[in-house]
């Protein structure tokens, strides 16, 4: 850093000694290809040029404020005006009080543009604008009388002289009530509206430009002057100091102004919003103190201003800090209202009005100053204000843009938004009246958006619990408001429940998903009757969740739903695809690949023939077909099908999409079963990578992959890593689905096997016997995982040397696997049986003793 800096300093000092024309060549050779250094030097040289008089006047010694008042030198006359005294020194030049040399002796303010600002461009703009500005004739706008050039060719403006105080100070000093402040503010709006109608934008509205006279009438100064001085295409060096100083107090500037974007009437509306905020609360919407310009820009773009009522209430409640209490009390007193009362007065409508004017997107603000004033009038008359319409939608969109919401949250929100759009549309189609439709759509949309906000304000993805938990919490929190808000909207509630159910399912929160989907099914059945497409959609979704939870009846439910859809002539291709894909998924999850097989082919076929090339559905269908191959033991075709799926998914969703994790995992499984451990291990690791990227390290979906990886790793002889993976997997899985899920048993058995290998066979054998009785009760004697307990016990017994005790256990297991057609397990157990046989009958012939077992093993 230091050496970079001294180099930079050296180059800067050398460069400024050179003529501008010589600098480029000097820097070329001095920087010798270091583009970064060169850019830094050049930026500093530009800044040196642009800095103008920046910091030239010491803050002490010669303060301009002191020398500028009273007896400072000034010209005796300016055109036909006799200068009385200098009023001040502005960024654009000097300001004088003058009197017109005629019988009326009218007092005016003359602003003379600084010498260095003058340019042919400026003069041209001045002439062009002067006509327009002089045409502004409004009781609340200080009149622009005249303009001209001084003897030394400096342009000047002549304006109405206004004796008054800045509006904020006026309100505070006179302790104007909220009502009175609004009244005054509405007059300001009237003036701004008038100017806007005459195509003049103020661009620099701030309290110092809005004076209130002794009669209590506001007067707006300097309309349109900013545009003359700072046109869109102004050269950079024009009045940089003033610009810089102005922009160092960007309290009233709109986000687009700070960014240097196009300034329109909407920018004035924003400034009016800041002014109203300040008039009501005594504060600015944002604090820019000690912020860099970049930070200010970011704040204006990303942050949402606080509600005025909240600002007032916070001030009054934080009595712990004497400073703020005083401020709050003072604020309220200045408005002739006790603090709490003031907060209540502002809450709701006034909050909405102020915040609408302060929206960061120009088109979302009030379309005109008049409409803002009209809303304030409605507020004063106790009528509903327009600002509150669509507030929820607006706040929601702000919320989303502000938080880079975690992937799962985005999924949730996106689904819900799509749902809202679809629902509003669907419902509205049934309404004949155009007007009613619009109204209903609006109110319904607002209802749902408000609901979403309730949900989202709980579901802050940055809370410590992490995204997964907060989604669940959020949805739990939403149940109450959902019941309340959607009491009379059963169809909407069903739609919402269906959507959240699907989202929860995708997040792996199966129990919660089941609750929502069951309720959706129940509601929809009572609304539409059995077999309706909405009903079957929820049923299909529910079936998959039931399958995940290992519950009975999942396949039947999925099949019934599919058959209803297949028989319905009104069902669309994508509805048909959803139903059939769900059916195949359900079969796959419960392990019934034989039933799944024909449907999976049908699904791929349907997706490929779909007129709209429904690639997402095709990806699901391809994936399902691959899974059917895998479950049928056709690992070669499965691996190929998974690769095909991966190719399509990567093309559709990119390489890191969450959905690819499962595909990678299953590809790994297929390869492993083909004996290709070398191919399988990276596939599993890739799956883990993607999962933890999206879901964190303790999501249930990692459990299965960890188990698979543990298998490969163990075969490579890395026992330590394998046990660790398995234990992680078990704890994740059990906390997810509860300790009674069959897969928990499966993992317990894997851990048991590792422990047997680690010399804990005796303890494990004892535990397995207890395990057997417990799990047989839960899952039944014939569940494949319960049967597997016998196989692992046999392994333990063999390890302990109790080969005779092991033999019947292993034989029973092999028989059961053969009957169930589970070739992989059969294969594996038969190998173990051969070992056992050879130990029990040294020199004996296994084939003679167990012909059926050998035949079965060979045919697999």
């Amino acid at each position: 850093m230091t050496s970079d800096w001294s180099r930079l300093r050296q180059l800067f000092e050398q460069s400024i000694e050179l003529e501008p024309g010589e600098r480029a060549e000097f820097l070329d050779s001095a920087c010798a290809g270091d583009g970064e250094l060169r850019a830094a030097v050049e930026q500093l040289i530009d800044a040196d040029l642009a800095a103008g008089e920046f910091l030239d006047d010491p803050i002490v010694g010669r303060p301009p404020a002191l020398s500028a008042s009273g007896d400072a030198e000034h010209p005796a006359t300016l055109g036909p005006y006799r200068v009385v005294r200098k009023l001040g020194q502005g960024g654009m030049g000097e300001v004088y009080l003058a009197v017109r040399d005629d019988p009326f002796q009218r007092r005016v303010v003359v602003k003379v543009v600084r010498k260095d600002l003058e340019s042919p461009d400026l003069l041209r703009r001045l002439h062009a604008e002067r006509q327009i500005l002089a045409g502004l004739d409004h009781p609340h706008i200080a009149h622009l009388y005249d303009g001209g050039t001084t003897d030394d060719q400096r342009p000047y403006f002549v304006m109405e002289y206004v004796e008054g105080v800045p509006i904020v100070r006026y309100c505070d000093e006179n302790r104007l009530s909220v009502e009175e402040r609004i009244g005054l503010f509405r007059k300001v709006c009237g003036a701004v509206q008038y100017a806007h109608q005459n195509l003049v934008v103020h661009r620099d509205l701030k309290p110092s430009n809005i004076l209130v006279t002794a009669e209590g009438e506001p007067k707006l100064l300097d309309f349109g002057i900013a545009k003359v001085l700072h046109p869109v295409a102004a050269p950079a060096q024009v009045d940089v100091t003033a610009t810089w100083q102005r922009m160092l107090t960007p309290q009233y500037a709109s986000p687009e102004q700070v960014r240097g974007n196009l300034v329109t009437t909407a920018s004035d509306i924003y400034s009016l919003g800041v002014l109203l905020f300040e008039l009501l609360t005594g504060r600015y919407p944002f604090s820019f103190a000690r912020r860099s310009p970049q930070e200010i820009e970011r704040i204006l773009t990303e942050e949402e201003p606080p509600r005025p009522s909240a600002v007032v209430l916070t001030d009054s409640e934080s009595s712990g800090s004497p400073g703020t209490t005083t401020l709050a009390t003072e604020l309220a007193r200045a408005r002739g209202t006790p603090p709490r009362e003031l907060g209540r007065r502002l809450a709701g409508d006034l909050d909405s009005i102020v915040l609408k004017a302060l929206r960061s997107a120009p088109h979302r603000r009030y379309p005109s100053a008049e409409s803002m004033a009209a809303d304030l009038e409605r507020f004063q008359e106790g009528l509903p204000v327009t600002a509150r319409r669509g507030t929820a939608t607006y706040r929601l969109s702000r919320f989303l843009s502000r938080h880079r919401v975690a992937a799962s949250m985005t999924a949730l929100v996106a689904s819900l938004l799509i749902f809202v759009a679809v629902t509003s549309f669907r419902q509205s189609q049934r309404l004949a009246e155009e007007r009613d439709r619009a109204l209903l759509e609006q109110s319904r949309k607002d209802t749902v958006m408000a609901l979403l906000l309730d949900v989202l304000s709980v579901a802050d993805p940055y809370s410590e619990e992490g995204a997964k938990l907060t989604v669940r919490e959020a949805l739990e929190a939403s149940r109450q408001p959902m019941q309340r808000r959607l009491k009379d909207e059963p169809a909407l509630r069903a739609e919402l429940l269906h959507t959240t159910g699907v989202v929860l399912r995708n997040l792996g929160l199966w129990n919660d998903a089941k609750t929502d989907l069951e309720e959706a099914v129940r509601l929809r059945r009572s609304l539409h009757g059995e077999g309706h497409l909405d009903v079957t959609a929820s049923e299909s979704a529910l079936a998959r969740v039931m399958a995940e939870l290992g519950e009975d009846g999942a396949s039947e439910l999925a099949l019934n739903a599919y058959e209803a859809v297949a028989a319905d002539p009104q069902a669309t291709t994508s509805q048909r695809l959803d139903a059939i894909n769900s059916l195949v998924s359900t079969y796959c999850i419960v392990g019934d690949h034989q039933s799944a097989a024909p449907f999976s082919e049908q699904a791929v076929d349907l997706a490929q023939r779909a007129s709209d090339r429904n690639l997402d559905a095709l990806a699901v269908a391809l994936y399902n077909r691959a899974s059917v191959f895998l479950k049928s033991g056709d690992h070669a075709r499965a691996a190929e099908a998974y690769r095909q799926t991966l190719a399509l998914e990567e093309q559709l969703r990119g390489n890191d999409h969450l959905s690819l994790a499962t595909t990678w995992n299953n590809l790994g499984s297929s390869l492993r079963r083909l004996g290709d451990d070398q191919g399988a291990e990276p596939a599993f690791r890739r799956a883990l990578e993607i999962l933890s990227l999206h879901l964190g390290d303790d999501h249930h979906r990692l459990a299965g992959v960890m188990n698979n990886l543990a298998g490969v790793v163990a075969r490579r002889g890395e026992h330590g890593e394998a046990v660790e993976l398995l234990r992680n997997a078990r704890s994740i899985f059990a906390s997810q689905v509860g300790g009674h899920h069959p897969n928990v048993l499966f993992l317990d058995l894997k851990i048991a096997q590792s422990r047997i290998a680690d010399g804990e066979a005796a303890e494990v054998e004892a535990e397995l016997r207890t395990m057997k009785s417990i799990w047989a009760e839960r899952l039944g004697e014939t569940h494949r995982n319960v049967l597997r307990i016998g196989r692992v016990r046999a392994e333990a017994l063999m390890n302990l040397g109790h080969d005779h005790a092991a033999e019947p256990l292993l034989a029973g297991y092999i028989e059961a696997m053969r009957e169930a057609g589970r070739t992989a397990e059969l294969d594996d157990a038969t190998e173990l049986m051969i070992v056992l046989f050879e130990r029990l009958h040294p020199g004996g012939d296994f084939e003679v003793a167990h012909p059926r077992r050998v035949a079965a093993a060979e045919s697999s």
Partner: protein, 188 residues
Amino acid sequence: MTADVTDLLQSWGRGDAAALEKVIPLVYERLCTLASGFLSQERKNHTLQTAALVNEAYLRMQQLEHVSWNDRAHFFALSARFMRRILIDHGRRVRSDKRGGDAPMVGIEMAEGVAFGRPEELLALDQALRDLAEHDRELAQIVELRYFGGLSREEIATVLGIGSATVTRRWRLARAWLFQQLKVDGPT
């Protein structure tokens, strides 16, 4: 007070380092007293008066006689630091209990004539100066001496023990750097 400070400064000029230690609190205290007295007279429109008050205090200090030019320069250097501190402290206070904060009375851009009229601006400059000091202490010092102390180029050169041409070059660099840090593109 004047006499004390003068004596101490002269001792310091003769090489008594401890004298400086003693002079700092004296000067600072005095400036703060002046500041609070000034502020209590008039509660409104703080900012303008802050500049005036510091200026006044400073002028009084400048009237010190019997101090060699060399010592004076060093004294001013010290004062510059105090000015900065007082102004910043004051800026923070004003910011924290600000209500509306509308400096100019005339209504027409007067605020812009007052260098760093707003506490925010002053605080931003202070922060930028700290950042600059991280790169280059000397540059930040030059700005402090010139802007907060009102020292001339020659005085700065004396305080820092460098040539006055060097002061000019470095001042330009410091100013350019600060300008770059604080500048915002103007409204279009």
